[in-house]
């Protein structure tokens, strides 16, 4: 019943979320500033998308203080890794089939 197409994950609909996941798939831990530079997005934009991914339990947000400065880092969870890989395979199958 459930076609292959349904394996696409709505949580990764958005480009910025895709970007966040892409960075975290290949880097063990990334801080806020690096992520922001890598994706070229605003503070607020990044924060809202990371918290959305955190709500899905796809990423882990760790807030630490380095001296007086807050330092936020992101890591991908096991669930997130699996979800993203499934999403990628779904995309690939989808494109492979239609072409």
């Amino acid at each position: 019943m459930k076609g292959l197409i349904t394996n696409l994950n709505k949580a990764f609909e958005n480009r910025i979320r895709l970007g966040i996941m892409s960075v975290l798939m290949v880097n063990p831990e990334v801080d806020f500033k690096t992520m922001k530079e890598m994706l070229d997005v605003s503070d607020g934009n990044l924060a809202s998308h990371t918290s959305a991914l955190e709500k899905n339990e796809y990423i882990l947000i760790t807030k630490k203080f380095v001296g007086k400065k807050p330092n936020t880092t992101y890591t991908v969870t096991k669930l997130g890794r699996k979800a993203f890989q499934d999403h990628l395979s779904a995309l690939e199958i989808l494109l492979g089939k239609s072409s």
């Binding site: 349904t6 970007g19 960075v23 995309l91 494109l95």
Partner: protein, 244 residues
Amino acid sequence: MSDQNKIIYFEKQSTFKMNENQKHIEDLQQIRSIMERSTQFISLSGLSGISAGIFGLIGAALAYLKLAGEFSISSSNNRLYSGDVVDVMDINFFNVVRMNLAFGPTLDLVIIATGTLGLALIFATIFTARKAKKDGNNLWSPTAKKLLVNTAIPLVVGGLFCIALLKHGLFGLVAPCTLIFYGLALINGSKYTLPEIRIVGVLNIILGLLNTIYIGQGLFFWALGFGVIHIIYGVVMYFKYERK
């Protein structure tokens, strides 16, 4: 509930199949590019390789002249330092080092080698900074830092090891060691930059190992490894990635 929403959502989407496919292709391209950019320092310029190679060859030529010069001078008198290169630096620290080493030509060669390395690094940085700017990338990124640290580890270890070799008078092993450790450094750093660097690393290691068989031919292997291979690499990279 959310699963059901998903299905409805994508059923709706499938009516825009063409546009959707285009979007998916772009998504995949973006994912790929971000993964590469966030792990690889891609701004390394081919011109860096070419300039490093040219300095390598100049260094080898200077060393050759120095050696040829030393032999003729030391046979006529004991003045070991006729060096044009040394004069500038002949002031304080090196006098001490020289006394410890008590071996003139070696110190000159070390200075030539260090100078070559320094100039090669400076120009490599300049060309790479230029390319990073052109590509709209940061020269100093976490990836650049990883590349630098991972390249520096074998390089520093190799450098210290070579100093030990010099101290123990094992001069013939210095050239092979520099080539081998340099090759290892490149291989270690290659994970964080364009993959072609890895080949340069492997070639340098092979040259270094060959040099251990033909000890005393260090200069030839140096010219080949630090000079010719760098230039070939630089030209290939320049035409592959930059001249488009």
